[in-house]
Every structure is written in structure tokens, then in C-alpha cells.
């Protein structure tokens, strides 16, 4: 499970002024009453657009997120870890399929989404533009990136769009072992030899910055947040999710005697919130826009996979076959 809390913004500012005010009122009343919106229901164009972008980015994050971990399958230390890592990576790719289907019900075909990913038009979670340098990096990803994603996705599974909620419920159900698996790997290294401890500490040092970036910039910067939260597209603010993550996982990191590379990180007893060094949002934007250590590799690998598989898809293709939108 890899979906970040952050939906990359469209530069155009959304507007719902063109919508029929009565339909919009009914729609918002249904959401207020806790009803789910289904594909055939009326919905504002902006709701559809934002959901497509969010679910699509989530799906892309799942398949691209499989790459930094997948690279370690052939070099996993031991057979059991290799099996577990293969199972986890396969789950993530399966989650992408579920999410693409959910996004498709809103009217964007899957192949178009994959094309937009490969051309760089659609984004995916920024953390996967960083490399998994050692085996310990996969342990940190499986534990802490999955933990962050779980916080975001448990919140989103209570959202308003039926197909997305159902996909997330299934994802969360399948997810139960990933976090445990990641924690197990981190604990094994942290309680092991000095060399193993050093490896996991190095990996944590490398990943802390991407982890703090994971939920996105402070909500004050985001133009869409208010409407998206009213429509239950976004269920929690970026800052709230980051605080929740720190609440749950900083103590678990510290209890292993590991250190976090942020001297300002501490729980503020007065506010009840965590104080931390403000992440470098300029770097975040720079990496999103293509200038990260692995952006080119991720997209090139994805493109090569699509190109290599094309003959199979063509061989199976029948002329009579027509695209249809999944039901729900």
C-alpha cells in the first residue's frame, strides 16, 4: 500500500460555479448524510476530475512503488524473505489494478492512465523517486512508507466515492501483513550485529526526508483542500496525517535505539503536537518535476515493461473486442 496523502495540484483552479445549483445541493446533502456516490450518479465535474487524479496517482504509486522494493527480490537475504518480498510486491501491483478499475468508473480508460504515467503527465508518490540502496532500505520502506500509506488510506476508505472505498477496503485487508513484515525486518536488523544496526540506521537517515515529504506540504498552501474535504474526497489534512504518523511511529523507532536525523523533532507538551524541522518543499517540488535521483529510471523501466509486453497484448487482441467501463 503506497498511496501518499498528497494529491499533486492542477495549476488551474477548480470551480463549481457552472454546476446546476439544485443538483449540487442534493449531491452535497447526500455526502453529508454519509451516502456513497456511485459511477452512474450525478456528480460535479470538479469532483470527477479530482477523484480521477487522486485515484490515478494512487494506482501509479502502487506500480512504481513496486520497483524500489522489487529490485531486491533477487538479492533478498534468505528464501523466506524472498518469498515474503515477492508476495508483498505482487500485492502492490494487484492494488494498482484495483485502483485503476476504480478510476476507470469515472471515465478515464486504464491504458490512457498508463500512457500519462509514462509520458510524465501524471504523477506518483514522490518517495519512489529515491533509491533503495541496501536491503535495509526495503525494510524501512515496507515498515514506514507502508505505515504512512495506511494512515492515509484508512482515512480515505471512509470517503464518498463508492468504488474507491471498496477498492481501499480490499487493499487494507490484504495489507495486514506488509507492515508486520517491514517491522520484523527492521527489528531483526536493529537487534542484530553492529553492522546490521549501522545498515538500518543509514537507511532510516536516507528515508526520513522522503517520509516527511510523504504527506505533502502544509494544507495552508493547498488551494483545493476545503472543497475536497467537504466532498469527502480528502478525509484528513496533510498536517494531521503527518502528526498521526509521528505519534504512532517515532516511539517505535526510538525504542529500538535508532536515531532520527532531525534535532528539532520532539513532542511539544503544550500543544500536544510534534515539532520538527520544516521539510524542504523546494526539493519536494523539484523532485516531483523530474529532477530526483530515480525519476528517469522509474519511468524508463515502466516504459520498457510496457514495450516488452506489447506483443503479448497484440497477440491476444481480437478485433471484435471493445473497451467497456467497469461497473463499480
Amino acid at each position: 500500500m503506497y498511496g501518499g496523502g498528497y494529491i499533486f495540484e492542477d495549476s488551474r483552479n477548480g470551480s463549481d460555479s457552472a454546476e446546476d445549483p439544485r443538483k449540487l445541493e442534493d449531491f452535497e446533502a447526500r455526502i453529508q448524510a454519509g451516502e456513497k456516490i456511485e459511477p452512474m450518479d450525478w456528480m460535479p465535474a470538479e469532483y470527477r476530475k479530482q477523484l480521477i487524479r487522486m485515484i490515478e496517482q494512487h494506482a501509479h504509486s502502487e506500480i512504481i512503488g513496486a520497483l524500489p522494493e522489487g529490485t531486491w527480490i533477487t538479492r533478498a537475504p534468505g528464501f523466506r524473505r524472498k518469498l515474503a518480498l515477492m508476495a508483498k510486491v505482487q500485492d502492490e501491483v494487484g492494488h494498482a489494478q484495483l485502483l485503476y478499475s476504480a478510476a476507470e468508473t469515472l471515465g478515464k480508460p486504464r491504458e490512457t492512465m498508463i500512457n500519462d504515467l509514462i509520458s510524465g503527465k501524471s504523477k506518483y508518490s514522490n518517495v519512489f523517486n529515491y533509491p533503495a540502496v541496501t536491503w535495509a532500505d526495503t525494510a524501512i520502506i515496507a515498515w514506514l512508507i507502508d505505515a504512512g500509506a495506511i494512515i492515509n488510506q484508512v482515512a480515505n476508505s471512509k470517503g464518498s466515492y463508492g468504488p474507491y472505498c471498496r477498492a481501499l477496503e480490499r487493499i487494507c485487508m490484504e495489507e495486514s501483513f506488509h507492515l508486520k513484515y517491514g517491522h520484523d525486518n527492521v527489528v531483526f536488523l536493529a537487534t542484530g550485529t553492529p553492522k546490521q544496526r549501522e545498515m538500518v540506521q543509514d537507511a532510516l537517515n536516507r528515508w526520513w526526508k522522503p517520509i516527511m515529504h510523504f504527506f505533502g506540504p502544509s494544507d495552508k498552501i493547498s488551494v483545493h483542500t476545503e472543497t475536497l474535504m467537504r466532498w469527502k474526497v480528502k478525509m484528513a489534512s496533510n498536517d494531521d496525517m503527518r502528526q498521526k504518523f509521528l505519534d504512532m511511529y517515532v516511539p517505535k523507532i526510538w525504542e529500538l535505539g535508532l536515531t532520527i536525523p532531525d534535532p528539532k523533532l520532539k513532542k511539544n507538551e503544550d500543544t500536544g503536537h510534534w515539532d520538527y524541522t520544516e521539510p524542504d518543499w523546494e526539493e519536494f517540488k523539484r523532485v516531483i518535476n523530474g529532477d530526483g535521483p530515480c525519476n528517469k529510471e522509474r519511468l524508463a523501466v515502466r516504459r520498457r515493461a510496457e514495450e516488452k509486453g506489447e506483443w503479448v497484448r497484440r497477440a491476444l487482441m481480437r478485433n471484435a473486442e471493445e473497451y467497456s467501463v467497469p461497473l463499480s
Binding site: M40, E174, L316, M317
Partner: protein, 126 residues
């Protein structure tokens, strides 16, 4: 020059160093199939999602991978999405029951009052 990766297998692929933003050559849109899943014999099949496939056999193979990989499963059905005839939520009022249809509800049949009155009137039947 080709792309250098930490993963030797990726380095060996000889991928281009610069990002190629061109769209993929050919797009093959397969149809979609709805998937129904039975977790144990005797249970009903339940709709769990959909897969893209060029034919029912491939739909079955992909559905097995997608929906029977983790959860228990004894049987799968796949149905072409376009073969599903569906109603629209706009017409949901057609499913509403009105009070005159109590004759087809279990709760529309209340006999205890009459039985109790009969028993009271005919104590000798005890």
C-alpha cells in the same frame, strides 16, 4: 550512454538516459469482465471487482490472480461487463414497497391476537 542503476539487471537493459515523453506506440484496449467470488461451498457468489481481458479464459486467469491470491476461494465467475443489464439509481423508487403490499411481508400476518382470543373463549380445549 545508457542508464546506470543500483540494480545490475536494470543497467543491463540499456535504457536511455534521457526521459522519453512520447506516448506508447499502440494502445490495446481489452474489454472488462466483472468478477464474482465464492469463499466457501454453499455460500453465494459475490461481486468483488473487474479485470481487463481479451477473452473469458484470460479474464478467469487474471481474476484468479487478482481476487483468489490471498482470500479463500472455491469458485470464480467472470461475466463480460457489457452483458450485465443494470438499473440506474435515478429509478431507485421503483423498488420501494408501499403499505398495500403488506400481504407479501412476513410481518403482514399477525395471528396471535386471534389465537389468544379463541383460547380464552374455549378454555375446554386446553
Amino acid at each position: 550512454m545508457s542508464l546506470k542503476s543500483l540494480d545490475p539487471r536494470i543497467t543491463r537493459e540499456g535504457l536511455p538516459e534521457t526521459h522519453d515523453a512520447s506516448p506508447l506506440g499502440e494502445i490495446h484496449h481489452w474489454g472488462t469482465y466483472e468478477v464474482f467470488h465464492q469463499t466457501k461451498k454453499g455460500d453465494r457468489h459475490i461481486h468483488v471487482g473487474s479485470v481487463h481481458a481479451p477473452n473469458p479464459e484470460m479474464a478467469y486467469i487474471l481474476a484468479k490472480e487478482q481476487f483468489a491470491r490471498r482470500a479463500p476461494c472455491v469458485s470464480l465467475w467472470v461475466v463480460k461487463t457489457t452483458d450485465v443489464y443494470q438499473t440506474n439509481y435515478r429509478d431507485e423508487d421503483m423498488y420501494e414497497n408501499n403499505p398495500e403490499k403488506m400481504y407479501r411481508e412476513a410481518g403482514g400476518y399477525k395471528v396471535m391476537e386471534r389465537i389468544n382470543k379463541y383460547k380464552k373463549d374455549h378454555p375446554q380445549n386446553k
